[in-house]
């Protein structure tokens, strides 16, 4: 099957029902995507498929045939949210962080300044046990301000 992974066209010989999470982590060796629950509840395995956040533990890889898949490695460490989330301590242990960053990305990239309620809603599927979320919200809003200077 074919897909575009972090901007690069890839051809993979994998079972069509294999979880996208396992394909990314094991077949492609990109371990930045984490498994927290395996049932789509925690959001640690969030990746972007054609720009939309999805939980990769619930997606059979056949469903992303021809799609653009972005994992945390695809940001190459250069997105402002990756820095603000460390500075604001929106990442503590960090295991949920790749998923949080990707889930928040569409909001941060969209020019309209999000309300706090919108940030909460966008991240409602990403469990974090360390921060109580306040610092994550601050990091998202700070990154948005940086991406869209007045």
């Amino acid at each position: 099957m074919k897909l575009v992974l972090n901007g690069e066209p890839r051809e993979l010989d994998v079972h069509p029902l294999r979880r996208l999470l396992d394909v990314v982590r094991e077949d492609c060796g990109l371990t930045g995507t984490k498994e927290g629950c395996g049932e789509g509840e925690c959001g640690a395995c969030t990746v972007l498929v054609d720009g939309e956040p999805v939980v990769s533990c619930l997606v059979p890889v056949a469903q992303v045939e021809g799609a653009e898949v972005t994992t945390i490695e695809g940001l190459a460490g250069s997105h402002p949210l990756q820095r603000t989330i460390m500075d604001e301590v929106g990442a503590q242990c960090g295991i949920c962080t790749p998923g949080v960053v990707l889930a928040a990305l569409p909001l941060v990239e969209s020019p309209a300044r999000p309300t706090l309620a919108r940030v909460r809603e966008a991240l409602a599927g990403n469990l974090c046990r360390c921060t109580g979320y306040e610092a994550i919200h601050r990091a998202v809003l700070a990154a948005h301000a940086e991406r869209h200077p007045k």
Binding site: G36, G38, C42, T71, C96, E121, G125, T131, I136
Partner: protein
């Protein structure tokens, strides 16, 4: 330039945000096998053998006969087997270990256990075995009751809580000629090392334990990693190949420790002005099947059971008993959240009885410098109960909202609490932790076993060392916790890392500074080679404690906190929703304010989850809702906006005035929430305060019904006794 007190760039860099940070499941070794644990299915009984219904080709199979040393996970006691040999004490006990290089093949293998079931004891009140019993006595209880105008009684209960670190437990054991290296997610590398030495005996000469990036702990990775590490090591020894065991979420929830459920009874004498004259407290904790850390959880629980209040006549009785559920263990707060939940809801019931407001009754009794605690500890000037209470009440507009919300579906409640920093009693003396510091070509390197699990250990310790040495923060490196490199600086628990280990490092830095004789560490290193200093814990002068009488200085010092929660009750769904939360806490002085704030926000959210959402449902001794779908922790939508205030009251015994902050934030939220629900009119005395529980809760008649409110008769008692 001073780095302490500023939000310096964290030592972690960007790795956690880029996916470069490598957790246990991200590590791979050549020839690695995957491991799996076969567990019992009955909560009590006997194992009479097993059948392996699969082709054993390519499998490694381990049972208790493969253990070269003692079949136990050594901790306080050696009562917990590593693998069941005969007797079964809970329904998730490990019996057999399998390993195979293909994970799918491994999990398809079918094993039948031949178990003989016996009738389990699941109610701690009917337990036949006490792990630990403690009495704390101050003054003469009956004399205190003689001085009372009113006696208020009540029973309060708290449920089990699952840690839900987002990274499940995981380790990899790598064998080599004459030795074994264990990599894993953990809080306490030396606990793992000590347990492995007992398990493996003389069979392995050299054991090395290395902490990998750890995706959350909260106490859940204090003692349990010794178990999963033991299993991986046994498989690695037998197969002579690296073996990785990573639990799936369901197994992690079913098999690992929880917060001890507790039932706390209070009988309190008060004057009509609200002064406490006598406090009688009885604490019962459910330890589960094995001892684990239960004696010390109970110890911290009973020491905090009278709350941050002055009272001359106190008797606290506590016991932790055995039941046939998986053993309970360390969880942030370590017994203190349970007992302080009870005393804080009880204080509101005292206020209701006397017709006083919650702030006044607390102000009249709050501990002040020079007062003595239940153990007779005389409090120093860094005692801030009154300061945090006044600030929280002012900031939240407590009294005004208390009047405004009266009679509505909204409520506002508060809690006043404290938390002892460091190990209890003689714990630190017995630990005798060590910390080291050495020069490098760039500056210095910190050598401690304290782990970074999200709370910022590396950053905070580097700040202390940088300022104590008078060098730039950037010149301080921190060694990875690896037992072949770092000394045993004790476990990363008990809010002790900053105050105790940070204190040792401050002393290391002072000694190093003398030896440097004006040179920068890097200059010294270039001229004279590596300089290494090490310090060992010594108790502060004059600190006294008796493990026999439970009298003396229970802790070096205490942190102080006051939480205010506002709730709205939904008349249709019976949910209580927290709409606003104020946390005012004093823990000496924050070393890194943003990291410290993170502890308060995160700990408070975890406490709010325990208060309202997190319900471990046991069916025949097994967690029946071992899924994140059914065991619900707070999401962004369940967590209210938080107003966090960190008040400063430096503690001279801590590095740069710091105490400990990790645990205290979870002591307060549950009682603040329940007191807010009480303000909104429901008589709740147990958590989690789920919609089902609120639906059954009796309505409170209002503050002017002292006779009725002072007794525990009727539906309230039944509710609390669940």
């Amino acid at each position: 330039m001073a780095s302490v007190g500023t939000n310096v760039t964290r030592k972690e860099g960007l790795d956690r945000a880029t996916g470069a940070a490598r957790y246990a499941d991200d590590l791979r070794f050549p020839g690695m096998l995957h491991g799996r644990t076969i567990r019992t299915s009955v909560p009590r009984g006997r194992l009479n053998g097993f059948s392996l219904d699969f082709d054993r080709d390519g499998f490694t199979v381990v049972d208790h006969r493969d253990i070269p040393g003692e079949n136990c996970i050594a901790l306080i006691e050696r009562d917990q087997p590593c693998l069941v040999a005969g007797a079964i004490h809970h329904a998730a006990e490990p019996v057999l270990l399998l390993a195979h290089e293909d994970r799918d093949t491994l999990f398809e293998a079918r094993v039948r256990l031949h178990e003989e079931a016996e009738s389990p004891i699941l109610d701690p009140a009917t337990s036949d075995h006490v792990f630990k019993q403690i009495r704390i006595e101050k003054g003469k209880l009956e004399r205190g009751f003689g001085l009372a105008d009113t006696v208020v009684e009540g029973t309060y209960s708290t449920g089990a809580q699952e840690h839900v670190y987002i990274e499940p437990n995981g380790v990899i054991a790598v064998p080599w000629e004459g030795g074994l290296t264990l990599h894993g997610s953990m809080q306490c590398p030396y606990y793992v090392l000590k347990a492995l030495k007992v398990l493996l005996g003389e069979a392995v000469r050299d054991i090395r334990v290395v902490q990998s990036e750890t995706g959350g702990g909260f106490g859940g990775k204090e003692e349990y990693p010794s178990m999963i590490a033991a299993h991986a090591c046994l498989l690695a020894l037998k197969s002579r190949r690296p073996v990785k065991i990573v639990y799936e979420r369901g197994e992690d929830m079913v098999a690992t420790t929880k917060r001890h459920p507790a039932i706390v009874r209070h009988r309190t004498g008060v004057t009509r002005h609200g002064r406490l004259t006598a406090m009688e407290v009885d604490v019962l904790m459910d330890g589960g099947a094995y001892c684990t850390l239960s004696p010390v959880v109970l110890s911290r629980g009973v020491i905090h059971a009278a709350g941050p209040y002055r009272c001359k006549h106190i008797r606290i009785d506590g016991r932790v008993v055995r039941t046939h559920t998986p053993p309970n263990g360390a969880f942030r707060g370590f017994g203190a959240p349970q007992t302080q939940f009870a005393v804080e809801v009880h204080m509101d019931r005292i206020a209701e009885t006397l017709g006083l407001d919650p702030v006044t009754v607390r102000l009249r009794n709050a501990l002040k410098p020079g007062d003595t605690t239940a153990t007779g500890q005389v409090l120093g000037p860094e005692t801030s109960a009154v300061m945090v209470l006044r600030e929280a009440a002012r900031r939240s507009g407590f009294k005004r909202k208390r009047r405004r919300y009266a009679g509505s579906a909204r409520g506002i409640g508060l809690s006043l609490f404290y938390h002892g920093a460091g190990f209890t009693g003689s714990g630190e003396v017995m630990l005798a932790s060590r910390a080291g510091l050495e020069t490098t070509p760039e500056g210095v390197r910190i050598l401690v076993a304290s782990t970074e699990i999200g709370q910022g250990t590396r950053t905070m310790l580097a700040q202390i060392v940088a300022d104590a040495l008078g060098i730039a923060y950037e010149q301080v490196d921190v060694a990875r916790p690896d037992t072949s490199v770092v000394p045993d600086s004790g476990p990363t628990v008990a809010s002790r890392t900053c105050m105790v280990v940070g204190g040792l490092l401050e002393r290391c830095a002072a000694r190093m500074r003398e030896r440097l004789a004006g040179l920068a560490p890097s200059e010294y290193h270039a001229r004279h080679g590596r300089l290494h200093v090490e310090e060992r814990y010594a108790p502060p002068p004059g600190r006294q404690w008796s493990d026999e009488t439970y009298q003396g200085d229970a802790y070096a010092t205490f942190g102080w906190g006051c939480d205010v929660a506002e709730v709205e009750l939904d008349p249709v769904t019976h949910e209580a929703r927290v709409t606003r939360f104020v946390a005012v806490q004093e823990f000496g002085r924050p070393i890194h304010p943003a990291l410290a704030r993170g502890q308060i926000e995160g700990g408070s959210a975890q406490g709010l989850g325990w208060a309202l959402l997190e319900d471990v449902v046991f069916r025949d001794g097994v967690m029946a809702n071992a899924q994140l779908t059914n065991y619900v922790i707070p999401t962004t939508l369940d967590t209210p906006p938080m107003d966090v205030v960190m008040l400063v009251n430096p503690y001279p015994g801590g590095p740069f005035g710091a105490k400990g902050v990790g645990e205290m934030p979870i002591d307060g939220p549950a009682s603040a929430v329940v007191n807010a629900i009480r303000h909104a009119g429901l008589d709740v005395r147990a958590i989690p305060a789920t919609p089902e529980r609120l639906l059954r809760a009796p309505r409170l008649g209002g503050p002017a019904a002292p006779a009725a409110a002072a007794t525990d008769a009727g539906p309230g008692a039944a509710e609390a006794g669940r």
